[in-house]
């Protein structure tokens, strides 16, 4: 049964209230598991809820909006690999654990090789997804070396991981591996786009709220047309990227390049809105106790993860040139 977008959004909003930003990581992970979100896009015959990309977008939009910490995007990449790769008893067992909330992780950068960067929560994870040109495999974290990197974005914990040992569960090889890795990465990009637009939505909302309460020159700042028009432009930018997000999330087949172009647009909008949010908040926006900076830092990280705008837009340009 397919859930409607509105039903999914309502459930997501209940789980993560956009008024409580950057909630506790452990509690958040528990909520994500209990909500069944990790099983959301797993086919029903593998024990999941059988939902598509639209549900995925709703989830990550909600996580982005409330600045929820944790490795949800990486976890879902592992789950995508397990459901899209060759089936075995071992794969089924690991998939079950992953859906139940056992942490597993993957690199959110586009790197290939034996040292992976931008791997969330590697210290708490049991398995690591390893994608190469030839192979998609799961490696036990116990056989890898993880080094935590302190990130500007306080809502995410990232590690560099050196892959070690020979023991791995191969999920796909050759052409199948390439197809599977495109699917996994396309979904990651969609998730990053949704996270970005959720964050942009929240950053704009708190800015408008602040402009309505802060008085200078005997009037609320929100009354100044110069500021209103900047907010309107941000609203337009977010709504345009949103329209593209929902269109791509409901399309029958999402190409990797289109997902990349979408993520490039969405993360750029996020960064621009978060940048403006601090400016519109004035001095208070520069203080560590105010949440504005959390949006800016997460936005910059989202711009960098999954391949940057230069990479994806050049690739999209080449494809459009060939097909126009």
């Amino acid at each position: 049964m397919s859930l409607s977008r509105d039903e999914l959004i309502a459930a997501a909003e209940q789980a993560f209230d956009s008024q409580s930003l950057a909630p506790d990581a452990t509690q958040s992970w528990q909520t994500i598991s209990e909500m069944g979100w990790l099983a959301m896009c797993v086919p029903e015959d593998r024990g999941g809820l059988g939902q598509g990309s639209e549900a995925r977008a709703v989830i990550h939009h909600a996580l982005g909006r409330a600045l929820v910490p944790g490795p949800a995007i990486a976890q879902m990449m592992v789950i995508d690999a397990l459901t899209g790769g060759s089936r075995s008893d071992e794969a089924d067992t690991i998939l079950e654990m992953a859906m139940a909330g056992e942490r597993m992780t993957a690199s959110l950068a586009l790197n290939i090789g034996d040292v992976l960067s931008a791997v969330p929560d590697a210290d708490m994870s049991s398995h690591l997804l390893h994608i190469t040109d030839e192979r998609v495999a799961l490696v036990p974290m116990a056989s890898c070396e993880a080094e935590q990197r302190e990130t500007w974005d306080e809502t995410r914990r990232l590690f560099d991981v050196r892959i070690g040992g020979e023991q791995r569960l191969v999920l796909a090889e050759g052409d199948e591996a390439r197809t599977l890795s495109e699917t996994i990465r396309g979904n990651m990009l969609l998730a990053l786009a949704a996270d970005s637009l959720g964050g942009a939505e929240a950053a704009l909302a708190i800015s408008i709220e602040y402009l309505g309460t802060r008085h200078q020159f005997e009037r609320p700042l929100a009354m100044f047309q110069a500021l209103k028009h900047r907010c309107a432009d941000m609203r337009v930018a977010i709504s345009l990227a949103d329209a593209l997000l929902w269109q791509e999330a409901t399309s029958a087949s999402l190409s990797l390049t289109r997902a990349g172009a979408l993520k490039a647009q969405a993360s750029r909008v996020y960064k621009e809105v978060a940048e403006e949010a601090i400016q519109l908040h004035g001095g208070i926006g520069l203080t560590l106790e105010h949440p504005c900076h959390l949006f800016l830092k997460r936005a910059f990280l989202n711009c960098a993860l999954g391949g940057d705008a230069d990479y994806w837009e050049e690739r999209a340009g080449r494809e459009c040139l060939a097909s126009a």
Binding site: G212, Q225, K228, L240, D242, L244, Q247, Q265, E313, L321
Partner: protein, 394 residues
């Protein structure tokens, strides 16, 4: 469903091979352009592709959203002319009369639109642009006629129109919106004079209308006296909704012009150019997507205030960026004048397209007006108090 959609696409594609005018861009007089527009409209009506957005009871109407999109996309892809001459009649006049016209007015005027009768819109005045409700063209009751005096401006194709959707002032005593009425005017009536406006790119898409003691029967009023503002909203809503879907899809259908230009200038391996092209392409996609989503909301009745403004602002800024990119890639040769195509927004004469794009950032509610609508009525930010403007004008 996709089978019928793809069926429609291939049917229209082959129809266009035989029927799409190929020489319309060469029209070098306005009269030649208008004759071409009339002929093309008649052919589209006959084939059932002219008014896909009309309801089912009309020939060629009742198309689903998906079908409409295919039609607009294919027309653009085949480089067929956009229907500028009949733009106001098939959108604004049709929507206004369908929603607010009397049964008799509908019966009299709607069928004639398909026969080629053209309409223009008499709204803006020299002193009333963004502040439309400030119009001063007067209509004074004289027996069973109104007598009209005043001036209208920025009226699309008014110099060729048969009839006019005319917004007039019937009362100056109360609030400015409450004193307006909406009339249907015969452009051949004594006292009506039009003068085309030469635009910066050389086209004459708009005209001024001068009204000297023009007599309009009271039976040609739409709605009650004093309801003109309400009726005008129906006219304006049609412009911000359906037309933008057509134009967005036409812009996307014309992406090949940019691709050709990139190739022709040997820039097809230039990463900077490719990036900007990829970025623009995604932006055009997002404009099409928001136009789609907006129409879906209208169909479902879930439209909110400001939604149309988001679409219009998204489209107008993207249209400017589209032309700007072409001017940049074309280099110096774009600075040499080339003949313009009348009545099209995505022509590949990039300087002309750039200048023509102001029609969408200024007309139909400027970008600034859209930003006011979005911030005040959608985001709930407060309006300036009225007394500021009084202080400023003292």
């Amino acid at each position: 469903m996709s089978e019928t959609i793809e069926g429609l696409r291939s049917e229209l594609r082959s129809w266009l091979v035989d029927n799409a005018p190929s020489d319309w861009r060469l029209a070098d007089t306005h009269e030649g352009f208008v004759a071409g527009q009339r002929g093309w409209f008649a052919r589209l009506v006959e084939a059932g592709y002219a008014v896909p957005h009309w309801p089912q009871q009309w020939p060629g109407g009742g198309r689903s959203l998906a079908e409409q999109k295919v039609i607009y996309e294919e027309l653009a892809r085949a480089d067929a002319p956009r229907l500028l001459l009949t733009f106001v009649s098939t959108y604004h006049a049709f929507a206004t009369l369908s929603e607010c016209g009397s049964a008799e007015q509908q019966e009299r005027y709607l069928p004639r639109i398909l026969e080629g009768e053209t309409w223009c819109q008499g709204f803006s005045e020299p002193g009333a642009g963004s502040d439309l409700a400030a119009i001063r063209t007067r209509a004074v009751l004289d027996g069973d006629h109104y007598v009209i005096n005043g001036q209208k401006i920025w009226s699309t194709m008014a110099q060729y129109a048969d009839r006019c959707l005319l917004l007039v002032r019937t009362d100056s005593s109360g609030p400015k919106q409450a004193g307006l009425s909406y009339l249907l005017m015969d452009m051949k009536a004594p006292g009506v004079t039009t003068r085309p406006i030469r635009q910066i790119q050389g086209d004459e898409e708009f005209a001024e209308i001068f009204l000297d003691d023009v007599r309009i029967p009271v039976s040609e009023r739409v709605g009650e006296e004093g309801e003109g503002w309400k009726v005008a909203q129906a006219t304006l809503a049609s412009e911000r909704g359906l037309t933008l879907m057509e134009l967005s899809y036409r812009m996307r259908g014309a992406m090949w012009r940019l691709a050709d230009l990139i190739h022709a200038n040997g820039r097809n391996d230039d990463p900077g150019v490719l990036r900007d092209f990829g970025r623009l392409s995604a932006r055009v996609d997002s404009v099409c997507a928001i136009a789609d989503a907006y129409l879906q909301k209208r169909i479902e009745g879930t439209e909110s205030i400001g939604d149309a403004a988001l679409v219009k602002l998204g489209y107008s800024r993207c249209l400017r960026a589209w032309a700007d990119f072409g001017v940049r890639i074309g280099g110096v040769s774009e600075q040499y004048r080339a003949p313009i195509t009348f009545g099209d927004l995505n022509t590949g004469n990039w300087m002309a397209d750039f200048m023509n794009s102001y029609a969408w950032t200024i007309a139909g509610g400027s970008d600034e007006v859209q930003r006011n609508i979005i911030s005040e009525r959608m985001l709930g930010m407060p309006r300036e108090p009225k007394h500021w403007t009084q202080e400023a004008s003292q």
